[in-house]
Symmetry: C2
Amino acid sequence: MAVEPVTTSRRERVRAATIDEIKQTALDLMREQETTDIRFTDIARGMGMTAPALYRYFGDRNELLTHLITDAFADLGACIAAAREAVPADDIGGRWVASASAYRDWARSRPQQFALVLGMPVPGYAAPDEGPTTQAAKQAMHELEELFISAATSGRLGAPLVRHASAAMAVCAEDKHPQLEGVVPPETFQAMLQAWASLHGVTSLEAHGHLDWLQPEARDALFLSQVEMIATAAGLPAPKAGYGQPLPKGDGSTDA
Amino acid sequence: MAVEPVTTSRRERVRAATIDEIKQTALDLMREQETTDIRFTDIARGMGMTAPALYRYFGDRNELLTHLITDAFADLGACIAAAREAVPADDIGGRWVASASAYRDWARSRPQQFALVLGMPVPGYAAPDEGPTTQAAKQAMHELEELFISAATSGRLGAPLVRHASAAMAVCAEDKHPQLEGVVPPETFQAMLQAWASLHGVTSLEAHGHLDWLQPEARDALFLSQVEMIATAAGLPAPKAGYGQPLPKGDGSTDA
DNA sequence: TAACGTGTGTGATGCTAAATAACGCAACTG
DNA sequence: CAGTTGCGTTATTTAGCATCACACACGTTA
């Protein structure tokens, strides 16, 4: 930890801090106003500045949103990873429940950011081609893949409920994970995608308010039973503590 | 079919046609521009009118969007129902595959409308309290419920993969379907919600482009295997034709 | 046939917010 | 102490939502 005097100039550090403050203010406004449609004017006023000043830091509104999206992906991935690592490595089922709960809690505690990354982006927002969003989405999902890969390599992954996979699926699996040929069969790859989709489905419905007619306890119960269903269908072992309680929550501490 | 001269005046009919044209133009623009953020100016120009004229028909942009949302719900429900009814009533599994495929096809063929009803609404759009959207969402989902209810009442619904449901879930189930107490046990109600969530998940990921990295054939395979997984987990019988082909597609003929 | 009234569309106008331009200020540099 | 660079400000332009006052057209009524 030697002092490196010139790697980052003072100006650069101040600038980085300002950028962070802009992004944080934008997120705060999103939560306050319950929308992803934030105004440069409001962000600036929230910081005691005027709108044009923000253009020194972001070329336009799209650029700010793109940064928020990539940050959100990284944060989601970090939350999932943290929740997973908080459970002993030999408790695959426990790690699955922890990861899934982190996914849900992240979405519930930041519905706007969730919409930003996994819903339809803000109107007028055009994702850059070969966008950071796509790449970052893969990275976030990789945290879930990690779980399946370690389960498979340690031989603790049972056969999925759907035991057949098409040739196209096998090609895609091999294309995506060439190093896992033979270790993770196509139907397991398929089951992993199913798990992601099902987890995303229940999370998405809840985050967007489509389950509001259920009592909160019933929503919790639905989520846990969904997690159990997914695990069973994917061949993941049961958690050692059972499916009773949501485990330590990965709440919003790693916020972008 | 007697001629009823005065029930709807000529003016009223012309007005209704104009309203339909406005909504259709708005939907066309959404598809063209691939966004839910449509401008009154553009709608008007597309009809050879000017923007202020639209305010004769809709109080403001929100009101138009609300109508589009409720229409979309009705259309989604109609597509699902049509696909379901196209399969013999005794082929529960076939009806499930048809319904799920209709759900997917509807979302794929109208990604903007899908985002409108089941994603996060347009920025700046505030859903009316006790909104038509919530009520219409229930109605659309009822088309899926219908399947489970008829399966259960005819005794062709097996036990779900997750055989236990919490007390809160049981309360909600009874609260929602008081007439089905005893016929549809809480764990089946829970399994139905799981099925909806899982179906929505894979559909949502695909509609929003998060599965674009898969080959189209692999996406089809993933969807079908997901449908099979859901059916198995929910206790629905297998379709008589097997899970091989997507069945007659409920494509976009009932458009709003 | 002529006057009237309702429904409908238009141009003019206000407002808000994104984005740009031109200018002033402060901090570091030699 | 002067020059450079980066940051922030006050105009200004542009675009779109929403409202207003006015004009036209159609159907009705005298």
